[in-house]
């Protein structure tokens, strides 16, 4: 019977998705993208009004009032999709970058994006060159709903197979190079989060995952929450999403590595 399984698995089609197909993708994650040409000041105001976590808000980064889309706060509720300028994004840039890189600004009067950032996907070859060493990740749940965990666990399935990059998840923070932290950091987890960080040997990377990890998400205002994570620890990079799809997670992790190697 066991030989049956092995035999079948050898015959089964290869499901591995290539890294070129994955980088930057965000399908199924329900993050919004903005068609700036369709944006009007009235529509922007209405979209800000329906946004439950103020991921859409009017802001004045310089002298002009702009619509700010903060992927780090977005829980993908889809409320803004009811307005013509907003639709589910096929790609989200900024995964694995700084908190600032998760912000987009739009000029509602002119109907154009301001200060466009691009994080062009790197060639596969370069990523392999940079990953000369194995990266050990310790996943740390700081009070997540378990959605991020489900997607992080999916990274090891035959579609995404994180191990092909030499990256794997380890059981102890003492073996880790990177802490991948989910959840808004509940009050009851705050001490455990600090202890886990201290137990991780330097040099170490801290990556905040999901809307909760980036900003506290829908739990930001709760009395039982001490976070978000960057209130407690120095965070190197952010991966938005609620939860981030495996493609967004993979993009984020590889982007962190790419930048680390350049330092």
């Amino acid at each position: 019977m066991i030989f049956d399984v092995i035999h079948r698995s050898l015959k089964a089609p290869n499901r591995l998705v290539t890294v070129e197909e994955l980088l930057g993708r965000a399908e199924g994650g329900r993050m919004p993208q903005v068609n700036a040409a369709k944006l009007t000041p009235e529509m922007a105001r209405q979209a800000c009004e329906v946004c439950p976590t103020a991921a859409l808000a009017m802001a004045k980064p310089r002298d002009q009032e702009l619509l700010c889309l903060d992927y780090g706060k977005c829980i993908g509720c889809g409320r803004c999709f009811e307005h013509a300028a907003f639709s589910p994004a096929e790609r989200v840039a900024g995964c694995g970058g700084s908190r600032q890189e998760l912000l987009r600004y739009f000029d509602c009067e002119r109907g154009a994006e301001v200060e466009i950032r691009t994080s062009a996907p790197e060639a596969c070859q370069e990523i392999f060159q940079l990953l000369g060493r194995a990266l050990n990740i310790r996943e740390l749940d700081a009070g997540s709903c378990n959605g991020c965990e489900a997607e992080i666990a999916a990274l090891t399935n035959p579609y995404y197979d994180l191990e092909r990059f030499g990256i794997h998840f380890v059981a102890s923070p003492k073996h880790a190079d990177m802490l991948l932290v989910t959840g808004p950091v509940t009050r009851n987890m705050a001490v455990a989060v600090k202890k886990t960080y201290e137990a991780t040997p330097a040099p170490k990377l801290v990556v905040a995952v999901g809307a909760c990890g980036c900003s506290g998400g829908i739990f930001a205002a709760s009395h039982a929450v001490s976070g978000p994570l960057d209130k407690l620890l120095r965070v190197d990079a952010y991966i938005p999403g609620c939860p981030p799809t495996p493609a967004m997670l993979l993009t984020g992790i590889l982007e962190v590595l790419r930048r680390t190697a350049k330092r």
């Binding site: 066991i2 698995s9 009070g143 378990n146 489900a150 999916a154 399935n157 035959p158 739990f219 009395h223």
Partner: protein, 489 residues
Amino acid sequence: MSATPQQQSIGWAVAEATRLLQAGARLVCEFASSDGGAIKVHYILDVPGEGYRVLEETVNGALQSITPVTPAAAWYEREIKDQYGIELTGHPDPRPLLLHENWPRGLHPMVADAQSVPWADEHYDFLKVEGEGVCEVAVGPVHAGIIEPGHFRFSVVGDNVLYLELRHFYTHKGTEKLFQGTPVAYGQMIAESVSGDNCFAHAVAYCQAIEAAHSVVAPKQAQLVRLIGLELERMISHIADVGALSNDVAFVLPSAYCSRIKEDLMQASARAVGTRFWKGIAVPGGVVRDIAPAAAEVLSNAVAQAASEFAKIANTILDRPSVQGRFEGAGVLPGSVVEDLAVVGPVARASGANRDVRRDHPYGAYGELPIHVPCLAYGDVLARARVRIEEVVVSARLLADALGWLSSGPIRADVPPAVAFEGWSAVESPRGELLYWVKGEGGKLQRCSIKSPSFQNWPALPHAVIGNVIADFPLINKSFNLSYSGSDR
């Protein structure tokens, strides 16, 4: 269902709940609510031959505990004490539950301003097991895998577990307080974040409760879309569980298979409805997205293929003598414990308790479908695995039927704001009976109480673990597959 509050003499609800429980009713949940001044206690019971019954009364001074009548009430009453500051009389274990040492005693978040509370350094006593050769093993809150946090305190002699105490609520996020003041149309977003892998069940339970409270019925097509989402979520959850069980006994290949089948179903969901977890689909009054014929075909092909592949893999797992050796007889949960602790879901059905909300208290489109409920008596890891395997088959059949019945028509009914509303609704989530109780006025929520199947089932876990070797704990725990966040909220 909407409640008709009855008012009688002080203590009548406790007395009535006690009478019904002694006559064979099952405790569904117990919680408190406050309208600014007076605090009310609510009991929801499943009365044989009658259905759900809600009892409520204003608490005058201390609350008479019903835990001596049904141990299933123990955690609910500890939670009421933490949240509302009501003293309990007759409770055998009134220690704090959700509030840890960092929270000042005497401050009760549901009835006080809980923002910017200073850090406290309170004390918590674990139960001490004493005797020659007794060792304590502390596990967690941070665990070795990609899993949620919680603390397990084992008292062992050699490899044998003498006692296990759970210390959870590390992921407590004050969710029920967050509902206070939230507009009705936004509540499902909080509900979706209670237990991430069962988020659609939570969203549907919330939406149905709101609909019941407003006497609104979701359109037929919306009910079918919900049924499809719920059954798909159950298939995904059970397939992942069975794969993880195989992984826990070092039979890794089927585990990789199951993770692939799960991913196939999630990708099919993303293609059909634009979300891997069915987030943002359910709203009070119906759903926001219909399943078009092309999307229905994507789903029905994916479901048929997943069901057939999973059936083969499940047989491969169960046929292995090495798997049987680990599954059989491990972590037996006796039927008597299931009744005492009012355990729900696949865990209860693997220990002989034949209950399933879909069949016993039909909701949505379930009323029109015959539901086969697999039930086994042995109560070990093998029984829990087999119940899940059979439930995948049942879900796949339900999905095939429901996908075929989809037609066109409205998918969302209007929910006009009510001056005052109150209602509840239960669904069978992959982990068991899940109930939302809501109350509010003018389109805003005042209270939303969640009966989570995991909160109900966690206290039963130690009874299945005691007497086993500690090395079997991960396997037994996995076979329960309880949500930490769902329980901690």
